[in-house]
């Protein structure tokens, strides 16, 4: 095996992890990663030492993931493992007020300067429930807008917004728990 091929193969586990987080399906993830590795090995000259090998491969992977999403859009939009209503009921009382007021997260730069924060963020994204996780990753990692997401998954914009809403809320809760510490003492919230 050439050095290039060895280097590509060495990154396979990382690509696999990314593909799984996006697709939430091992077989599809395996297909996307295989397609990526094959494409990379077929045209090593396209890499030509530009930037990092990983960055280049991830770029290819993102396209292959969109191919997979397209191919399996029916199954994806038919999945309903979304128990999203719970997150709203968990955070708000019947009057629409906060059960526990959100905490002050402090200076963003102090947080965003820490590498560990992004490791926690990664865990929180991985833990999003299937449907929410997929759509959140499409939006924030594949950088698709809502129109494109709706087109690929064949869902309505309202549907997409609801799922993104729940994903973001869940992410906020996860970051609160895993990074920013316990919820602050209840403050007065306007109902």
């Amino acid at each position: 095996m050439s050095d290039f091929a060895t280097a590509v193969q060495a990154l396979r586990p990382q690509l696999m992890r990314f593909a799984r987080t996006q697709l939430r399906n091992d077989a599809w993830a395996e297909d996307a990663v295989s397609d990526t590795v094959l494409a990379a090995l077929a045209k090593p000259q396209a890499f030509a030492g530009q930037s990092q090998l990983k960055t280049w491969l991830v770029g290819i992977l993102k396209h292959k993931l969109i191919d997979q999403i397209r191919r399996h859009s029916r199954e994806i939009s038919a999945t309903t493992d979304d128990n999203g209503e719970e997150i709203d009921a968990l955070l708000f009382n019947d009057g629409g007020g906060w059960r526990e007021a959100p905490a002050e997260w402090g200076d963003p730069e102090a947080t965003l300067g820490r590498r560990e924060f992004f490791e926690v963020l990664e865990v929180c994204v991985e833990q999003l429930p299937g449907v929410q996780g997929r759509i959140f990753m499409m939006r924030e990692w594949l950088e698709l807008d809502t129109d494109e997401i709706c087109k690929e998954l064949n869902i309505t914009a309202t549907n997409a917004w609801v799922l993104l809403h729940r994903a973001r809320l869940r992410l906020q809760t996860c970051l609160q728990e895993r990074w920013f510490g316990k919820p602050a003492a209840p403050a007065r919230a306007t109902a």
């Binding site: 960055t55 007020g97 959100p102 997260w105 963003p108 965003l112 992004f118 306007t190 109902a191």
Partner: protein, 68 residues
């Protein structure tokens, strides 16, 4: 003039703040959010949390796409 038509509870304002990440809010929606943030102590914190997440996500992308 009463501004009751702009009145929203925390749950509704939170939903609008989050919606703003994925679509452009309407004029009344923006007014309602602004009006609520002025009188609520809890929601402005949530608003700042969302701002932090918005700032964090591009860096998260860069981190996972390049970090070893």
């Amino acid at each position: 003039m009463t501004m009751n038509f702009l009145q929203r509870n925390c749950r509704q304002v939170t939903a609008l703040v989050l919606a703003g990440e994925d679509r452009r809010l309407g004029l009344f929606e923006r007014w309602a959010v602004r009006a609520h943030l002025k009188v609520c102590t809890a929601c402005p914190r949530f608003y700042r949390q969302v701002a932090l997440m918005r700032k964090a996500l591009p860096r998260w992308r860069a981190y996972r796409d390049t970090a070893d």
